[in-house]
């Protein structure tokens, strides 16, 4: 049953991502992406990572995507925003798809040669307790570093995003 679920979710994720990538309107793209993230979250759960699944929903779908939406709204990139009015047409897509397809085939063919092909994913469940233990014992230092990263990222974001740098006319410059 889990197997079927995996394939279904995988299909959903791929389709949703594909839609997201091709949408002309950023808002739609974000919504599709949220879908694919939900699917991925479920796959994570299937693979026995409940906590990661939860965070996938909370951080990615919840926080990051919402942030995206917020920015899009703020910049009024409503449908018909000139940046992407007519998004990339087939002419742009074709070469890129060929390139991507080539890379994908190479990857997949290479993977054929790997013994991992035979191995299957077992049913396995990592309890949040163990997870937390691992996170805050073995990887405590890493957590600290990440926290510092977040701090300085915040500082940077604040510095960059802060309104009204000195020489900027309200109309911007063109």
């Amino acid at each position: 049953m889990a197997t079927w679920l995996f394939y279904i979710l995988g299909a959903v994720a791929v389709v949703a991502t594909a839609m997201a990538v091709t949408r002309r309107n950023p808002v739609h793209a974000v919504i599709y992406l949220v879908n694919s993230f939900f699917a991925l979250a479920l796959i994570f759960y299937l693979l026995g990572a409940p906590l990661v699944a939860a965070w996938e929903v909370i951080i990615y779908a919840g926080a990051i995507m919402v942030l995206f939406l917020f920015i899009i709204m703020m910049l009024k990139l409503s449908p018909g925003e000139e940046a992407d009015r007519q998004g990339p047409g087939p002419l742009q897509w074709l070469p890129v798809m060929l390139l991507g397809g080539a890379i994908l085939t190479c990857t997949l063919l290479l993977l054929q040669f790997d013994p991992v092909g035979g191995q299957g994913l077992p049913h396995w469940y990592a309890s949040p307790r163990d997870f937390g233990y691992a996170l805050f014992h073995k990887y405590a230092l890493a957590v600290e570093i990440v926290s510092f990263q977040l701090l300085f990222a915040a500082v940077g974001a604040f510095y960059v995003g802060r309104a009204g740098g000195r020489k900027i006319a309200p109309g911007g410059e063109q």
Partner: protein, 619 residues
């Protein structure tokens, strides 16, 4: 006596030259002239006092080693043997007289120091040639005289032509020197020595096949210095120099160096019949060529120059005929009377107000009878008037040629005789045009320094009685010179031959004189015929060389520069640079500034890597 006294011979002139060169310009002119003259006189006296050393095979002295390296040993060393001694005596003697003459001739020139310095250095170099005991030192003198003549021909350098004439002389002679150098290299590589005596000694060891080319190379060198065919074009132009210079360098001494070289190396030279024949031919033809040119010249000094050339031709002929004594004898006598003629010419030119053109002279006999007398003696010697020095010496040469008996010598003898006729003709042409008839130049009354006259008589006497030096037994002489030189006495020709030649030569002299007398006794300008112009321009050899040598040379020079260096080599090098910069431009274009293009770079890179890895794992 101490044989090292010999070095006084060369050191005195050297000292005089160096002193004059360094501080001459700070000394009073008279002192300069005095110093120069005394230094030469000194070496003249030294020669006389060292005379005894020359006896037999002479003496050899060494001052210090100049160049010594593996196998090579070239000393500053002298070989004072009879040949050298007699040459020395002549050179120093004539040189002293000419120095004295020059003191008068140049007294108003502000560059006396330079003049006398060069003149002394010249004598030094000339003596080096004469006395050198090895070919390298001889070569040093050889080039030295070349340089001095260069400097003296171009002495009045403000006139471009003079300087150019000097350069021409230097380079043309240097072409000859090239052959001499090669001969030197070759001899060294064959015999492992540059000692003249030793080379002559061991010449017989050499492979006969090699001797002829060697001799020809030496001949080439000699031709250059002695202005023989085909390297003779420089001598007439060399007359641009001051007259004493012409007298000393281009009449008496330097130009005869070639003859001297051949005599010096005679033991080697004589080993190659072919070589001898070639030498004789060169001599004979030059004699003829020069005499013919002399017929048409208008500048007094050029006439004399061509006559010099032709007389030297005789000497070559003599060497070719194997009679060194005759050659040397003629060399000496010729030196005397030719110096006399040149100095006389110099005086005449003064007299005629610095006028060179004999058409502008005439009637000078009345102006200065003494000078006329002296000049006449010179002319007679040159023309080979019976019983003058010139007569005997020339006679000896022709006799040698005649008595050889083979066909070639016979022809050459014929040429010689014919040339003798021409000689007496142009000599008297000169004499008549200058001294007889009415004076045609503008009136001038220059003050003649007595030195310009009183240095001539000794030379006149020497020229007149120079014949006695080597008077054949036939005339009751004892061939002093040839015995002194230790050369075999001239062929004992039967009485009839001797007499016949005597008569013949006298006739030839007369035959030359008569037309000149008729034509030029009273002056009328000669018609401008193409022939005359042809002769006047020395058979147009200059134009020929200009066309076949100089012009191609200039072209090659420019070609190598523009096509070779500029276009080809630099072109290639700079081309590489430019190409790289060009490609650099393309690589710059990659940085389009478009983020998505840069990302494509990522993707392509990844694709290539994966593709390669796939290939590797799959295969």
């Amino acid at each position: 006596m101490d044989s090292r006294l010999l070095f006084l011979l060369i050191l005195l002139p050297l000292a005089g030259g160096v002193i004059n060169a360094c501080v001459g310009c700070r000394m009073p002119r008279r002192l300069v002239a005095l110093l120069a003259t005394t230094s030469i006189l000194g070496s003249f006296i030294a020669t006389l006092s060292c005379w005894s050393l020359a006896a037999g095979s002479g003496t050899q002295v060494k001052l210090f080693t100049w160049l010594a390296s593996a196998g090579l040993q070239a000393d500053i060393g002298l070989l004072f043997d009879p040949l050298a001694a007699s040459m020395c005596l002549m050179v120093t003697g004539v040189a002293s007289l000419i120095h004295i003459y020059a003191a008068g001739y140049m007294e108003h020139d502000e560059n006396q120091a330079r003049f006398f310095a060069l003149l002394n250095l010249f004598v030094f170099a000339m003596l080096c040639i004469i006395l050198a005991d090895n070919l390298l030192l001889l070569f040093l003198g050889w080039e030295g005289v070349g340089f001095c003549s260069y400097g003296l021909i171009g002495f009045w350098y403000e006139k471009k032509e003079n300087a150019l004439a000097g350069r021409k002389a230097f380079i043309v002679t240097r072409v000859g020197d090239l052959f001499f150098t090669i001969a030197l290299l070759w001899l060294f590589s064959l015999l492992g020595t540059v000692e003249i005596a030793e080379i002559n000694l061991r010449a017989a060891e050499l492979d006969p096949a090699l001797i002829t080319p060697l001799v020809l190379l030496l001949l080439g060198g000699a031709c250059g210095k002695s202005a023989q065919l085909p390297l003779m074009t420089w001598l007439p132009d060399a007359m641009a120099g001051p007259t004493p210079v012409s007298a000393l360098i281009h009449a008496a001494t330097m130009v005869t160096a070639g003859v001297y070289l051949l005599c010096r190396m005679f033991p080697l030279v004589s080993l190659s019949p072919v070589g001898m024949a070639v030498i004789a031919c060169v001599g004979a033809f030059t004699a003829l060529y020069a005499a013919s040119c002399a017929l048409a010249q208008r500048e007094i000094k050029r006439v004399l120059a061509y006559s010099t050339m032709s007389q030297i031709g005789y000497m070559f002929l003599a060497v070719g005929m194997g009679s060194v004594a005759a050659a040397v004898n003629h060399l000496l006598v010729h030196a005397f009377f030719k110096a006399l003629l040149f100095m006389g010419a110099g005086t005449l030119i003064h007299l005629a107000g610095e006028e060179n053109d004999i058409y502008q002279m005439g009637g000078l006999r009345k102006k200065n009878p003494l000078l006329f007398g002296l000049f006449l003696i010179g002319i007679l010697c040159l023309a080979g008037a019976p019983f003058t020095g010139g007569f005997f010496s020339k006679d000896a040469i022709l006799l040698a040629a005649f008595s050889r008996g083979d066909g070639l010598s016979a022809c050459l003898w014929g040429i010689g005789v014919f040339t003798a006729g021409l000689t007496s003709f142009y000599s008297f042409r000169l004499l008549y045009l200058v001294f007889f008839g009415e004076y045609r130049g503008q009136e001038t009354s220059p003050h003649l320094s007595p030195l310009l006259i009183w240095t001539l008589p000794p030379l006149a006497l020497l020229g007149l009685f120079g014949g006695l030096l080597n008077l054949p037994y036939f005339y009751g002489g004892h061939e002093i010179l040839s015995r002194f030189l230790g050369t075999p006495p001239s062929a004992e020709a039967p009485l009839a031959t001797e007499l016949g030649l005597l008569v013949l030569m006298s006739l030839v002299f007369a035959v030359g004189w008569l037309p000149a007398h008729l034509l030029y006794r009273n002056f009328q300008p000669e018609p401008e015929t193409p022939w005359r112009r042809f002769l006047l321009q020395g058979w147009r050899f200059d134009l020929l060389y200009e066309q076949i040598i100089l012009r191609p040379y200039r072209f090659v020079a420019r070609f190598c520069w523009l096509a070779g260096d500029r276009a080809l080599i630099d072109g290639v090098v700079e081309g590489i640079g430019r190409t790289m910069l060009h490609w650099g431009g393309y690589f710059r274009l990659l940085a389009t500034g478009q983020i998505s293009f840069y990302l494509q770079g990522f993707a392509w890179g990844l694709l290539l890597m994966l593709g390669w890895l796939l290939l590797k794992t799959a295969v």
